[in-house]
């Protein structure tokens, strides 16, 4: 029998054939007859009253068909929309704008060019209003109020853990370190920006929405709920998410542009396309991070005792995070990380400011990057305060392998792990002790090099239905598999790949379970008319949820196949044994039927009393989350004359449980590492005191390229998840989550002897040079 290349094989990605030939089908490739184009006029001010919108200035541009304003939408009760966190967000403003680049009005025209000219020509009169940009200032009494519909700029207070016990444990510690840190606003900056084609069919009362979305089903339900008053029902809405050029969490929210384009299609009776340009994408789409953290960590006798985190979360004008509904700060309480400690308390206060809304999980399952950054920075500081090497200190304080399943003080049940093994492997790979010796020599010569570690614990695969839902919809996911008479198959899922390689990995899971080669399995996602319901792809949840569903649905098929095989072999079911791809009679291995033969029989010769056909569906509700982990070690050199940090080596040992397709896993880690060093060294979206964005294009928003990324050295350990059907954990975000702290720890390590204790990110050359200069270590040559 041909090898079926299931789990553990680096099967070439099935989807790549079309991507590398330029045959992918993205939103902007979709062209419908009579389609109109939409462009958006945006606010130059961070806070202003709109006194007049001069529609006629845009309508005078040849080709412009309509101008859509908040007043237009108000007539349909669509001027406001809910966010996933049950906050409210303007679709188009009626009278005030609250952040720079906010949508003010939309222009619909017969060509993309005419739409752009119309949007540029549209004159709007504004009266600027006072602006609040800093979230701390926003909490001061008398601060400018961002939201007219709220009493204050304070959105929510969330806390977890026992504050009193934590304070007591810190007081009883012999060493306590304290550090404030900011994880600045960053942006996913996916290659494909957001967009949609909305096509309203007035005759059938049917809406087709081609959308850049990571969660097509959830979007369909949300659209049905917010448009119910217009007579649109869920069976008359079809959401299609075609090929997606990167999502990273940025394509989970509903953006005003989607709603405006839909309204425009209804108003004009024509399909309407809206595609963001790069600046709009960077300036107005949901940002990530922006956590201001005050952290304290204590130890007694070299053993970590207690952690306290107090956090201000800047959400901009609206809480447009995309967390599970019961988790306003996501899974931030994974912040005790890889360490065994007995007391912890964490709090987050969400704040409104005059900045674009957001708080999305950028390649990080719900605030895990923030949590990991805090604990990994603090553990480093505490190690030093204890006079100990950060590696040794970690090794002694890790949760031990025999403690799994481990319940953390903040209530998570870690499924499996061996943290020491991962760190030791990473240290071996990079030659940790030799690098330390080299560092000592270099310091003597006045050269700066540093070594940084991050031993992160991820938490992915949301999630068990008892706690995880989004707007009430439980966070299961699904797989529906049909085996065709000739033994080939089609499998559909509630998730949606944005480049992760689902078409290959899902096929491999089914291949493993059924023995049908991956190339014989067609995988489809993203069309709500055909795929089973699911909550989509983000937070590294696809393998833990839909991947598990694929295994379970395959096993259901195998159970039925066994009955058919028994019928064909005229044997008792109990006497049949399974080897990959084939049932045979125990003791007579020659007497067997392949899955292909069984599939044919399912349609041509099925046993009486059994339904024909061979298919199954699974809606998988995970019993727990999965907890991937790893240890990263990086070595940096610092140029004292310019402040430039160069990553010389970066070793990443990841444990994501069983690896389905090792090549795809490595690809995910490579990309994640690049996105992990990005905020550490390059990326930040910042604002001046008037709320003007100062990094809203790729000249200032520095996405690292192949030239800035070092050669990644990858290693692995494999600790299967005990509760996942195939022992897999999810790996899409580990590297993004774990990498930043490793780089910061390395830079601080390089500068420690000068007296530097902390570096804020991004550690730009200018910022590093300032630290050098402050400590008398800047060079002039």
């Amino acid at each position: 029998m041909a090898k079926c290349r299931g789990l553990g094989h680096s099967v070439q990605r099935k989807e790549d054939a079309r991507f590398i030939r330029g045959q992918g089908r993205y939103i902007d490739d979709i062209k419908l007859p009579g389609m109109l184009y939409l462009d958006i006029t945006r606010s130059p001010y961070a806070h202003a009253k709109i006194t007049k919108i001069h529609d006629e200035t845009a309508l005078a541009v040849p080709g412009v068909a309509a101008v859509i304003t908040g007043k237009t939408l108000e007539a349909y009760n669509l001027a406001w929309m809910p966010t996933l966190m049950s906050d409210q967000q303007m679709v188009l403003p009626i009278d005030t704008v609250k952040y720079q680049a906010q949508e003010v009005a939309a222009v619909v025209a017969t060509s993309r060019y005419a739409a752009a000219d119309g949007a540029a020509a549209l004159e709007v009169d504004y009266e600027p209003l006072p602006v609040v940009v800093d979230p701390h200032a926003a909490l001061e009494p008398g601060a400018t109020r961002v939201r007219d519909d709220k009493d204050s700029n304070h959105i929510f207070h969330w806390e977890h853990g026992d504050r009193e016990a934590t304070e007591a444990a810190l007081a009883a510690s012999d060493t306590v370190v304290e550090q404030a840190m900011h994880l600045p606003r960053i942006h996913v900056a996916s290659i494909e920006t957001c967009g949609c084609v909305a096509s309203w069919n007035p005759v059938e009362g049917h809406l087709t929405l081609y959308l850049t979305t990571q969660a097509p089903h959830a979007i369909r339900t949300v659209v049905a709920l917010v448009t119910a008053h217009l007579g649109l029902a869920e069976h008359r809405i079809r959401v299609i998410s075609p090929d997606i050029g990167g999502g990273f969490g940025g394509k989970v929210p509903v953006y005003p542009g989607y709603v405006i384009a839909t309204a425009a299609s209804v108003v004009t009776g024509k399909p309407v396309k809206w595609i963001e340009d790069r600046s709009e994408n960077l300036q107005a789409d949901s940002f990530a991070r922006d956590y201001h953290i005050k952290a304290r960590l204590g130890s007694k006798g070299g053993k970590i005792t207690a952690l306290s985190l107090d956090t201000i979360a800047d959400h901009g004008y609206s809480d447009a995070a995309a967390n599970p509904s019961k988790f306003p700060a996501g899974l931030y309480h994974i912040c005790t990380g890889s360490y065994d400690l007995s007391d912890a308390h964490v709090s987050v206060d969400g704040v409104y400011t005059n900045k674009p809304p957001g708080g999305i999980a950028y390649r990080c399952s719900f605030r895990v990057t923030e949590a990991v950054h805090a604990i990994e920075r603090m553990v480093d500081l505490l190690a030093r305060e204890n006079g100990e090497d950060p590696a040794d200190f970690r090794l002694r304080n890790f949760i031990r392998p025999d403690q799994f399943p481990y319940t953390s003080v903040l209530g998570w049940e870690y499924d499996s792990g061996d943290y020491g093994a991962a760190l030791e492997k990473a240290m071996d790979m990079i030659g940790y002790r030799d690098l330390r010796a080299e560092q000592t020599e270099k310091r003597a010569r006045g050269e700066l090099m540093g070594i940084g570690i991050s031993s992160f614990t991820e938490i992915v695969g949301a999630g068990p239905s008892k706690t995880f839902d989004i707007l009430g919809i439980k966070m299961f996911d699904s797989s529906e598999i049909r085996i065709h008479p000739t033994g080939k198959a089609i499998a559909r899922f509630g998730t949606k790949s944005q480049g992760q390689g689902h078409e290959t990995t899902y096929a491999q899971i089914i291949a493993e379970e059924l023995g049908i080669p991956p190339e014989d399995i067609q995988v489809e996602e993203g069309d709500t008319d055909t795929a089973p319901y699911g909550l989509g792809t983000y937070a590294s949840r696809s393998t833990p949820t839909a991947g598990a569903a694929a295994a379970i649905a395959s096993r259901k098929i195998r159970a039925k196949a066994k009955k058919i095989a028994a019928h064909l072999l005229e044997a008792d079911e109990a006497d049949l044994e399974w080897e990959q791809g084939r049932f045979f009679v125990k003791g007579s291995p020659d007497r067997g039927k392949t899955i292909q033969e069984i599939a044919f029989a399912a349609y041509t010769n099925h046993p009486q009393g059994l339904e024909a056909g061979l298919e199954a569906t699974s809606y998988y509700d995970p019993p727990n989350l999965t907890f991937p982990f790893g240890s990263y070690v990086c070595a940096v050199d610092i140029d004292r004359g310019t402040g430039q940090v160069r990553i010389r080596r970066f070793v990443a040992v990841d444990d994501c449980g069983v690896r389905i397709n090792p090549m795809i896993v490595e690809g995910q880690i490579h990309g994640g590492l690049a996105m992990g060093i990005a905020p550490a060294l390059f990326e930040e979206i910042s604002y001046d005191p008037d709320g003007n964005i100062t990094g809203g294009n790729f000249v200032e928003y520095l996405v690292p390229t192949a030239m800035e990324t070092p050669h990644w050295e990858l290693g692995e350990t494999v600790t299967p998840s005990p509760h996942h059907p195939i022992g897999a954990k999810g790996v899409g975000e580990s590297a993004t989550v774990g990498a930043p702290a490793a780089v910061v720890n390395a830079v601080v390590d390089a500068l420690w002897h000068l007296g530097v204790r902390h570096m804020e990110i991004p550690m730009t050359p200018a910022r590093v040079w300032s630290a050098l200069n402050e400590h008398g270590a800047a060079a002039t040559r």
Binding site: D39, R112, Y113, A116, D117, A120, D277, R278, S279, G641, T642, G643, Q644, F682, T694, G695, V699, E700, L702, P704, T705, M707, E708, T764, P765, A766, W769, S770, N773, A778, A779, T780, R781
Partner: protein
């Protein structure tokens, strides 16, 4: 990201290009388009017409003649980068071409466009100052009454060339002394005498970025002393800056570390940076100082290796 409407012309002679420019003051020349098109996409520039130079013969090429390296205005950066002549005899220029944008940019961007655009962030202007280069502008002046447009196609126009020294060429941010209708056709760099060496040091936040600061140094050693020196700075002022005090510190010295330190200090003092994402004023001056030292030491090393 979508530019407003514009007309597009592809003349086949400089005279026609010049006529088109004079006929429409809102028209702009198009060379490699890698500065102009981005500005149009951001609607920072809204020319009503583009006059593309790509079909005009004789505007591209690199060669030595009459004691000069002559670079046609439409020469692409990638050609400069690959030229053995440039690599062998004009290391400062070779250094500069290599750090402009990325390979995709360099395949289209032209040397003429780079200097004519006069973006203080562009790299060639400082290099041209350090080289004491000159620029040849060609115009087609009207010697009779009536406008050029009226005379179009009647008589072949007389070309008039003028040579402008680099010190006079850059008049402000994004402005040069080229007159309306005048087209930059050639850049001339004096051929190096024995004992010459040069180097360009650019510090950028990532590949393809404009410089935080960059320093061009060109010098000549004679009998173990620096006889001539050119030092100029990129992106630390409204125009490229010639650091005369740094040049003075080098001239007459042995090119040792003390002299280089002094020159570096003088260059830092000559910089007029403003604070932005790339850093504070203090930081940018510090970078100029570091880069001047590094560029000058490489220039000295190259001068020592240069064939006598």
């Amino acid at each position: 990201m979508i530019p407003p409407q514009f007309d597009y012309h592809v003349p086949e002679s400089l005279a026609d290009a010049s006529r088109l420019l004079l006929a429409n003051p809102e028209a702009k020349l198009l060379a490699g388009g890698h500065s102009l098109i981005p500005m149009m996409r951001f609607r920072l520039a809204e020319p009503s017409a583009l006059v593309d130079l790509r079909k005009i013969p004789g505007l591209a090429g690199i060669g030595e003649a009459e004691g000069c390296l002559r670079i046609g205005a439409m020469t692409r950066e990638s050609e400069l980068e690959k030229s053995e002549l440039v690599q062998g005899r004009y290391p400062l220029l070779a250094d500069t071409a290599r750090v402009i944008g990325d390979p995709l940019v360099r395949n289209l961007a032209t040397v003429g466009g780079n200097v004519a655009h006069a973006d203080p962030g562009n790299d060639h202007p400082a290099t041209m100052l350090a080289y004491r280069a000159s620029f040849v502008g060609r115009s087609f002046p009207d010697r009779r009454s009536g406008t050029l447009l009226e005379q179009r196609h009647e008589l072949p126009l007389q070309a008039e060339d003028r040579t402008i020294g680099a010190d006079d060429f850059f008049t402000g941010p994004f402005s040069t002394c080229l007159k309306p209708g005048e087209i930059l056709i050639e850049i001339r760099i004096p051929a190096p005498e024995a004992g010459s060496g040069g180097a360009y040091e650019k510090f950028e936040r990532k590949v393809g970025d404009y410089a935080v600061a960059a320093v061009a140094v060109q010098l000549r050693l004679e009998g173990g002393r620096i006889a001539e020196a050119g030092v100029a700075l990129t992106n630390v002022g409204l125009t490229p800056i010639r650091a005369s005090a740094a040049e003075a510190a080098l001239i007459g010295s042995d090119g040792g570390e003390a002299a280089l330190d002094e020159a570096a200090g003088a260059a830092a003092a000559a910089a007029e940076p403003h604070e932005d994402h790339r850093g504070s004023v203090e930081y940018k001056r510090a970078v100029v100082r570091t880069l001047t030292f590094r560029a000058a030491s490489r220039a000295v090393a190259r001068a020592k290796e240069a064939p006598a």
